[in-house]
Symmetry: C2
Subunit: 424 residues, 2 copies
């Protein structure tokens, strides 16, 4: 039996202490966690191995298994990331928009922590470490609720983190873990608006929807990426192939991987067989519209014919998270923009073109968290964009958008100083 | 019968056009609205007069009548505010955090409108005009749902605004009004997450709670101010009196008006009779703790005795919105901070003191949207703090905090340009 209200209340108390803690103390805590994780690498890998084994036995998809696996290399990356966060500037306490009003009032805004973060996630155990590190650096307390499929990894990771914290000056309740896979605790957590200031879900669309519908706490939604690249008639086609390949195949199970390729009709006959031939070597299969299908069939190459099928209409609204790529021919830049308006989840969408006017038009018209010109979509990531690490990728338009790093885990307060000043 | 989905869909379409509209066109629209409002002042005042008459007949409180009344002077202020907003810099399109990564990617963030705002408000008809002006300036579409008590004023104001807009280059559906007092439309509006990007409630605590609990759209909550001033033992007492008086009596019906005065015990015997004598001349009555009561009774001045009564415990959790002031004696700065932690709505809280260390300690420990030193609490207001006007005062910690002006009605997108760049 878990008492979430008690956990929330303890988190709130810890958050008051955290908000006053010094940068040095927070960085020391991060270093201590990194050290403890190094020392207990074997334990972490063994617990994760158990989760992977259970996952396979339970018939989880390859994409899901990929998401939950910790390799010695990815563990090293996690630890490096923690140390990297310690080196980043502390946003808390920073003053901005400082000025003196005509009436003599001195006003400024001061960066403060959000307070208590509630993080509800699935699959990826690295979230436990990423979120904790970012929360600590920004003076927030955090309540973690991981998925059942990584319960063993998460338990061990949180145990190590809390053990490390007990050797530091930070309050021990700044990191807490809901040690149960019972979903009723998710629902309860989402109603703790007296104790939790922000909910960050990381997982499937269904999880995000459930949080939005159930929560009385502000929810940061995002992470669902139906991502598009449009190959304009003025694209450098040879240069485009590796970019498309990188977007689709480098890590197909993540949200910034490419889902739909839009191709201008005037280059389709030349380009489609080339890109399909290239990608099918990586094991990609294709859901294509009728026009593309007929072009690709006409090529009469067996290896191509084998990996294409006609896309059903709803399949342009699927986040594939696997080696499947939708392809559609469009008549114009405008049709590409229109398709993206209707099917994108406003995560990451891009254009490949040598034509600056077309690039600018695309950038202006597409309102996604990340809009790309001549680049892989795989850069929508806090680490890649220089935020240190990321706590989530927001696709909503309030608070934060795109990768959320340190600043996005802070709020501000107005500090106003007068000399016994009254309002006229 | 109002079709909210059709309204939402029209608003979404309008918001796409709005996001591409030029600063000049938006400013021209504001000027046109101001001009039309000037020309139709009589009509506006007559419609408002009807609302005031109905309000009085329906037994609305004085505070509520104050909130819904438009005087010729306040109408002029509204019109001046619109023109002022036209003179402010347009935040949309502004680029920030520009840099080039090691791999050559050029990244920046570009300010974009939020999209569609849903504003649900009560009482104050000036919200109709403020919100519309700020939404237009920031390229947002807006759906307004005002209270039944100002339906006549709002209808006329929106009619004038839409009439004005039809003479401009902006899409006519960028401002829409739910022309019904049936509350079911509020509930429906709160579920339009496909069409509305942000809900801004302005009204009672109950309205805010209802929005938080019902909405599947991000809600900006705030506007409820249980505001405190702490008179430190090191305060300049003579100078403090006008500041307290200004905080309490200048406009008692608004959220940044003072609710509770905390007084250090070492100055209470001297100070309490003075402040009570001063404020009771403005018609203030006092809910005081036992210690204050006994000090004030001991003075044996009839005019004082008549206006004080013992505060019930829950009365330190009341936003008075009228000429009532809570008073409590505290033993120390720490007790004052602790009282504020427990009773403040984190809107506006201040300290009056000559002691810098105490002032700093207070500023650090109090986590309210606006924290004051030696100033009236009445400055928590977008206009006063130089934001042009305000769409709401947020007391939550995500997106925006305190007065929300132009920038707070925008989001951003990441724009990333490469030269066919892939992720390693």
């Amino acid at each position: 039996m878990i008492n979430l209200i008690a956990m929330g209340s303890a988190a709130k108390d810890a958050s008051h202490q955290m908000s006053l803690s010094q940068t040095n103390d927070k960085n020391d805590a991060l270093e201590t966690i990194a050290k403890f994780m190094e020392q207990k690498s074997e334990e972490i890998l063994a617990s994760n191995h158990l989760d992977v084994k259970n996952g396979i036995n339970n018939g989880l998809s390859k994409a899901l298994i990929d998401r939950l696996t910790i390799t010695p290399e990815s563990l090293l990356n996690m630890i490096t990331d923690i140390r990297h966060i310690a080196t980043l500037p502390d946003p808390i306490g920073v003053c901005f928009d400082k000025r003196v009003l005509e009436n003599g009032l001195q006003i400024e805004r001061q960066r403060v922590p959000i307070g208590v973060l509630g993080v509800i996630y699935e699959s990826r155990p690295n979230v436990t470490v990423d979120v904790t590190s970012l929360a600590i650096k920004t003076g927030n307390a955090v309540i973690l609720r991981g998925g059942s499929e990584t319960i063993n990894s998460n338990k061990v990771l949180v145990h190590i983190i809390c053990d490390a914290l007990s050797h530091t000056n930070l309050p021990k309740n700044c990191v807490q873990f809901v040690n149960s896979t019972d979903r009723k605790y998710v629902t309860e957590m989402l109603k703790l608006d007296k104790h939790i200031d922000m909910i960050i879900p990381r997982g499937t669309n269904k999880l995000h929807e459930y949080c939005r519908e159930t929560s009385t706490i502000p929810v940061i939604t995002g992470g669902i990426g139906i991502c598009h690249l449009f190959v304009d008639e003025h694209a450098d086609l040879d240069a485009s192939i590796p970019v498309i390949s990188n977007s689709k195949t480098q890590r197909p199970s993540v949200c910034n991987a490419l889902d739909t390729l839009l191709v201008h009709k005037s280059i389709a006959t030349k380009f489609l067989p080339e890109i399909v031939r290239n990608l099918q070597e990586y094991g990609v299969t294709f859901k294509v519209d009728e026009k593309s299908f007929s072009i690709l069939e006409d090529v009469r190459i067996d290896s191509i014919t084998k990996c294409i099928s006609l896309a059903k209409p709803h399949e342009f609204d699927v986040e594939w998270l696997s080696l499947v790529l939708g392809i559609k021919i469009v008549d114009s830049l405008e049709e590409a923009i229109d398709h993206i308006h209707r099917h994108s989840t406003n995560h990451s969408d891009g254009i490949l073109t040598e034509n600056k006017a077309n690039a600018n038009k695309f950038v202006q018209a597409i309102d996604s968290a990340a809009v790309y010109v001549n680049s892989s979509t795989r850069f929508t990531d806090g680490g890649q964009l220089g935020l240190g690490a990321e706590v989530a990728v927001s696709t909503q338009k309030i608070h934060a958008r795109g990768p959320m790093g340190l600043s996005e885990l802070s709020s501000y307060k107005w500090v106003i100083k007068g000399s016994y000043t009254s309002r006229e």
